[in-house]
């Protein structure tokens, strides 16, 4: 057990990136609870996400990480019988206000899913989809944005020759980076990533992690992961959830090296989960 702890510390040391320091709070979750029908999935969670930082959500399976991250861009709206309580503020607006423009909200929060889900279209069509949705048809603008997003997602060099090939022909890791590019292309403020590497091999995972380093600062990133090392490597802050409750939230280094709660300690050291 002690060994693994050493590993995390080591990995933290090796990263050695300058800490940005919060540039203020961008998302504020206030006493937020959520029910799927009669089953409560989130219990009075309160949490502030800092602008420009990478926040990791960790916790055992079924603890409500996906539920929470999906609450942020109201993707949960599609689920029948969903009920929420409490507030989530994004740029000082409660996004659970019934008058809120959900479409506009989602445009400001790109999302990357666990399983790569490119559309069965060409690579460039995939990337420019958010623009297409905005009604933009100017070819030059579309091409520019596609290139920018693909470069940002570190995919440009691999696909520039075949922008008009079907995206389903890409490898899993490439597909996931394409999805990230698609999320970036919409020029969002926040990137929500729900286990973006769980379907990928270590090499592809490393590439995505690299990408997250690069995007850091530019976007506020919230990432759900089961991989402790990944959380330790990429995030500034980490939130540990257990059974729908936020147990501990703080600086990643603190969470991994010196957690306050026993459960957190058990989890990050791999005693359960």
């Amino acid at each position: 057990m002690v060994d693994s702890r050493v590993t995390y510390t080591e990995s933290l040391e090796t990263i050695n990136y300058p800490k940005h320091g919060g540039r203020g709070v961008v998302i504020e979750i206030k006493d937020f609870s959520l029910w799927y029908g009669h089953q409560q999935a989130l219990f009075n969670n309160t949490l502030s996400i800092e602008r420009g930082l990478v926040t990791a959500l960790i916790g055992p399976s079924g603890c409500g990480k996906s539920t929470l991250i999906r609450s942020l861009n109201r993707m949960n709206d599609l689920i029948d019988g969903l009920r929420t309580q409490g507030q989530i503020h994004f740029s000082d607006e409660n996004i659970y206000n019934p008058n809120v423009d959900v479409i506009g909200l989602r445009k400001r929060m790109g999302m990357v899913f666990q399983k790569p889900n490119p559309f069965p279209m060409t690579i460039s069509e995939n990337v420019t989809y958010p623009l297409k949705v905005d009604g933009i048809r100017d070819r030059r603008l579309l091409d520019e944005t596609a290139e920018k997003a693909l470069r940002a997602a570190a995919l440009w060099d691999e696909v520039k020759e075949r922008l008009h090939a079907n995206a389903l022909g890409l490898s899993g890791g490439q597909q996931q980076r394409l999805c990230i590019a698609r999320a970036i292309a919409g020029d969002p403020e926040v990137l929500l990533m729900d286990e973006p590497c769980s379907a990928l091999d270590p090499l592809a995972t490393a590439k995505i992690e690299d990408l997250i380093y690069q995007l850091r600062g530019q976007y506020t990133i919230i990432i759900v992961t089961h991989n402790m090392q990944q959380a330790a490597r990429v995030s500034d802050n980490t939130a540990f959830m257990y059974l729908g409750k936020l147990i501990e939230y703080g600086d990643t280094r603190t969470i991994f090296t010196n957690p306050k709660h026993g459960r957190t300690q058990d989890y990050v050291t791999g005693r359960f989960g």
Partner: protein, 861 residues
Amino acid sequence: MKKAKRSVLIADRVADHTITIGGILVIVAVLAIMVFLIQQALPLFKAGHVTSRVAYDLDAGSEPVAAMAMDEHKTFAVVLLTDGNVIAVHAKTGTRLSSAAADFQGKEITSSATTSDRSSMALGFSDGTIRLARIDFPSAVIPSSELPAGLHKLDDRDLTDGSSVYSRVPGNQYRHISTEIRMEDPLAVSESGKPIVALDCNAGGEAERQTRAFVAVDSNGLATLNTAYGSLNLLTGETRTTVEQTRLPQIPGGVELHAVALTPASGMVLIAGKNGDVYRYNTSDTNAPVLAETTRVLPEGVDLTVFGFLLGGQSLVVGGTDGSLNIFFLLDRDAANTTDGRMLLRTREFERGGSSFVRFDPSPQGKSFAIAEASGALKVIHGTSQKTLMSFTPDSGVAEYRRILLAPRLDGLMAVGSDGRAHFWEFSVPHPETTFGALFRKVWYEGHPEPTFTWQSSAATDEYESKFSLVPLIFGTIKAAFYSLLFAIPIAILGAIYTSEFVHHRMRSVIKPAMEMMVSLPSVVLGFVAALVLAPIVETWIAAVILAFFVIPLALITTAYLWQLLPLRIALRLEGVPKFCLISLTVIAATYGAYRMGPVFEDLFFAGDFKSWLNGSRGSPEPFLFLLFMPVSLIAIGLLASRLRGSRRGDRPEARVHTRAGRIRPAMVDIVRWLVMLMGAALCSYGISRMLGSLGLDARGSLVDTYVQRNTLVVGFAMGFAVIPVIYTIAEDALNSVPEHLRAASLACGATRWQTAIHVVLPTAISGVFSAVMIGMGRAVGETMIVVMSAGNTPIMDINVFNGLRALSATIAVELPEAVKNGTLYRILFLAGLVLFSMTFVINTVAELVRIRFRKRAMQL
């Protein structure tokens, strides 16, 4: 453990084999149907085949043959020589049978003619008289017990007593056939007693009061049209013949006569000179015949060799010394420089012979004829299909035939050579009327002003030319399918998108099974509802129906825009059933509105009466063109507007939380934009319609024309109802099988549900939707009862929506019960079935191929 594994293996293998065998059986069954249909239809394209051939010497001297006759069973062949000698032979063996010679009191027959049905003939004599005559073959069936003694055998079927023949027929019976030649008294026709050089005759009238008409030309060139009325004296049982004679205007002197021809109703007499000059007399008023036309039927320098009508007197067969063979019709032509506005026109051209055609005999059944070349080659040809049914060449060279004769049932041909040898072929041509060209290409039918595709399979008389073009039926099938799909595809696909993407799943679980149940709605019910209820309603409210096509979509779009004005809180609460009810209400209200506005609309656009507007008797073409271009220009303007808007970036909605006013303003802007687009489209299509109208363009006469109650619009509605559930169910399944994670991806990009449906779900499921459409099309093409009942079944080729049609399937259903087994119509209907089968087969195969591709792609997701 091991045992269990083995049993699983066996079960697996059994299942595998069963499925394989089942699949193969299905394929075999489909192939077997196809093979059966092909096998049934193939004989249509075959020529005939010879069943027997004989040749024998007729002890006929060197006298020319005046007439020949044969009975229906090809037992007797009777040859009448010009000196009155009659040679009767047993046709199959050439055995001479006794028959009385006719007594012409030393006069020679100088010309002769037979009516087209061969019921009687006219013989012209050297003294200018004419005798009407007939050669009959009285027959009776007797049991074999009554067979007289002392018969000798002719062949293994026939016995003879020397003059008559007993033929064995099934059921241990014999058919007794004899010959009987009846001559009527001479009628003096040529005033000057000159020999009759050319003659043609026709039978008419009823059985009690028979008339026979004949034209005769004597050696002075005097042509007369004679009508002989036979009246039966009931006391004595004798018939007396009275003749009415009319002189035809004199033909120019010096014309060397070749032949005369008379049409059945005596409406026209043609006198043909050897050089190809033809004088056409219009004799419809028998008391005042006029020379209507003088024309040439052959090029300069070519002489006439064959000149005569086919059965029915409409197709004039003309052969020349250049080996040409053509058919002429008498047709109305504006350019005709004749007194009655009609002229003889060459309409069909036959393959040239190696030498000129010199002998000709029309069949008394249908439009076939036999023709003999100077070289001795013989052919049997069908006039309409131009198919060479048979061709013969005698083994021994023949210098020339004195005469040729087709057996009455088109199953034998006898030719008497100048050497006195008779050649007799028996053959069978079951389907003379059909060739690929006759079935699928334009044919110039008798009496038609130009070549057409026509289907008119059954007729009242033998003389009728059957018209077997499948093209109008294929056209009808496609037309019905096209219009029903035009109606069904948008509704079915929009409905599928609506239920799979927008409707609450509880609602969906009601709508989907309901639609699936509609698939099993018996089409015969739809058919008669369409024919008996819908058709009269549509006819009465036609203007309202047309208006509804515009009002309903406009009302729906307007309601959708107004919906956006609702406060979000209320809108959210009304999502689901109330919204669905609102949509239904909108449709109902729009329909009612169209119904109420119908008359006003009719006044405004169609000068108060749509049907007389259609006929072109009133109103101008612009209003309809306006309606036609309205949707087109609306779509065009919509695309243009979105393109213009799309080229700007940066107007991303920054509004985070919509206040009430913040939400209403964009919605208002949207409505205004929509209204402006609508106005623009109206203006645009008004301009287009004015322009096209001033160019003289009119949709009437092509796209829309005379209104028939059971029309394509009604078929489109009814068949649409049959097809909508099919397309809907399959398309909905396809849309539904689009993985949820694609929808999530799209929504997470900030797409609306509509954008997700159109840009992601539909393209992903497009092959499934396409195959839904193809299967719907397959259903529409094969659908029978609806088209039988509501399409009017008129086999016309007309794109007019307001006219009826006749589909392949309907034709098969309607005509097969009446078709004689293995007859031409019967086989053509099988061919129609094969065409239909191929159409649906191709459609379904394409659908299946697309589906397979779709599955592959779905697997990748």
